[in-house]
Symmetry: C2
Subunit: 228 residues, 2 copies
C-alpha cells in the first residue's frame, strides 16, 4: 500500500514506470494474493498499464518474483553488521532473515544466490565474513557459509509453504487440530512417536523450530571450532 497508486484511482498512472515501481507493486500484490494468485492482470491493473510495459522492465514473471523476494530480504540486512561475538552475530543475522521473510510467505522459495539478486549475495557475504572471524580453517569457510545460507533460506521456505497451504482457507489452529486428530488415529504400535506427539504438534511454533535447528548448527560449529 502507498508505494503505488491503487486500483481505485481513474485514468493513467502518474509518473514513469521503472523496475523499482514494478517490483514494489509486485510485492504488494504477492502479499495480498500469494504466489499463485499474483497475475499480470492484477499487476497491470494496479500499475494502470499494459503487459508489454512490464516486460520492458523485467524479463518475465519468474525474474519479477525473484526480484521481489530479494527486495524483502533486504530488510534483514538493514542493520549494519556489529563487531561482537561472531556466533551471536550469525544467530542474530539468521533470525533477522527469518523475520524479514516471514511476513511474505511467497518470498523464501525464490531467494537464491544469483548475480541479479544483490541481497542474497550480501547475505552470503555477511555469513562468510562472520565465519572468517572464527577459528574455522579458511578452506572450510565456503562450505559452512553455504550450509548456513541453505539452512536459513531452505527451512524458512518450508515454513512458508506450510503457511501458504494453511492461509489459503482455514486457520492455522484448525489445520493442526485436524492433523493431530489424524495422528491420534494412527496405530500406536506402528507410530509410537507420532501418536505421543499430538500435543506438541498442536502447540508447536514454526519460529521455535527454526531456532532449534539454528542452535543445533551453531552448537555444532562451536564443537568443531573447539577441535572436535
Amino acid at each position: 500500500m502507498g508505494v503505488v497508486p491503487q486500483t481505485g484511482s481513474r485514468g493513467r498512472r502518474a509518473g514513469a514506470l521503472s523496475q523499482e515501481v514494478v517490483v514494489a507493486a509486485a510485492i504488494e500484490l504477492l502479499d495480498e494474493h500469494g504466489d499463485r494468485g499474483f497475475t499480470f492482470k492484477l499487476l497491470t491493473e494496479r500499475l494502470r498499464t499494459g503487459a508489454g510495459a512490464v516486460y520492458w522492465h523485467v524479463a518475465n514473471r519468474d525474474e519479477l518474483v525473484a526480484l521481489a523476494a530479494d527486495r524483502v530480504l533486504g530488510a534483514a540486512l538493514a542493520t549494519p553488521p556489529a563487531a561482537g561475538d561472531p556466533e551471536a552475530e550469525l544467530r542474530a543475522l539468521a533470525l533477522a532473515v527469518y523475520d524479514a521473510l516471514d511476513p511474505h510467505p511467497w518470498a523464501a522459495a525464490h531467494v537464491t544466490v544469483d548475480p541479479d539478486l544483490v541481497n542474497a549475495l550480501r547475505l552470503l557475504e555477511r555469513i562468510g565474513r562472520l565465519l572468517a572471524r572464527t577459528p574455522l580453517p579458511a578452506e572450510r569457510h565456503f562450505m559452512v557459509a553455504t550450509a548456513i545460507f541453505n539452512y536459513v533460506t531452505g527451512v524458512t521456505a518450508q515454513d512458508s509453504a506450510r503457511a501458504a497451504t494453511v492461509g489459503a482457507s482455514q486457520t492455522r489452529d484448525a489445520v493442526f487440530a485436524r492433523y493431530a486428530a489424524h495422528w491420534e488415529s494412527l496405530d500406536p504400535a506402528a507410530f509410537p512417536f507420532l501418536t505421543g506427539a499430538t500435543d506438541d504438534l498442536r502447540r508447536h511454533d514454526d519460529r521455535d523450530q527454526f531456532v532449534t535447528g539454528l542452535d543445533l548448527i551453531l552448537d555444532g560449529l562451536r564443537r568443531q571450532l573447539a577441535g572436535d
Copy 2:
C-alpha cells in the same frame, strides 16, 4: 518408463485406472518435463484417457504432485531401521532422503507432513524414534525431530530449485562459471568473502554442502546430549 503404457501405442488404455497408476505416470512425466512442464494434457495423453478420469482419482494437480513426491520419498525408507548408534542412523537416514529425492528435482518442495502423505509421516516417525534412543530429554524430541525433518527436506528443496533452474537450458558448469565470473567482478573491498571464494563456487558440490550442514546439526546434537 515401463509402469505405464507409452504414448506410442494406439487405442485405449489396457486395464483400469487407479490412483497408483495415475501417480506413477505423473512421476514419469515430472522426471521428463519438470514441475512446470508437467501438464494434464501430457498426463491424459500418456494414460490415453480424459481429464475427468484423472480427477476421479486425485483432487487436483497439487495433490497429484504431492502424492508423486511422497512416493519417490518412499525409496529412502525402503531399508528397515537398523539397531546401531542412533546418531549414525540419523545421518544415514538423512542421506537416504537426499539421495531418494535428488534424481527427482521437482519432488522435495512438495514433501510435507500431511495426513495423506504416508512416507513423510513415516520419515518424521523414524527421526523421532531415533531421537528417543538418545539421552535427549523427552520434551525436546518433537522440536528436534521437526528441526531435522525441516533441514533435510528444506535444504534438499533448495538444491533442487537450483538444479531445476540450471537444468532448464545450460550445463551446471557453465552456470557456475558465469556466477564465478560475476563474483570476480565485484569490489573486493565490499565483498572480500565472495571475491575470494570463486574457486570454491566453481568446484562446490551440493551434496557435500548438505552433508556439511547435516554434520553440524548432528555435532550440535551430540554437544547438547553431552550436557552443553
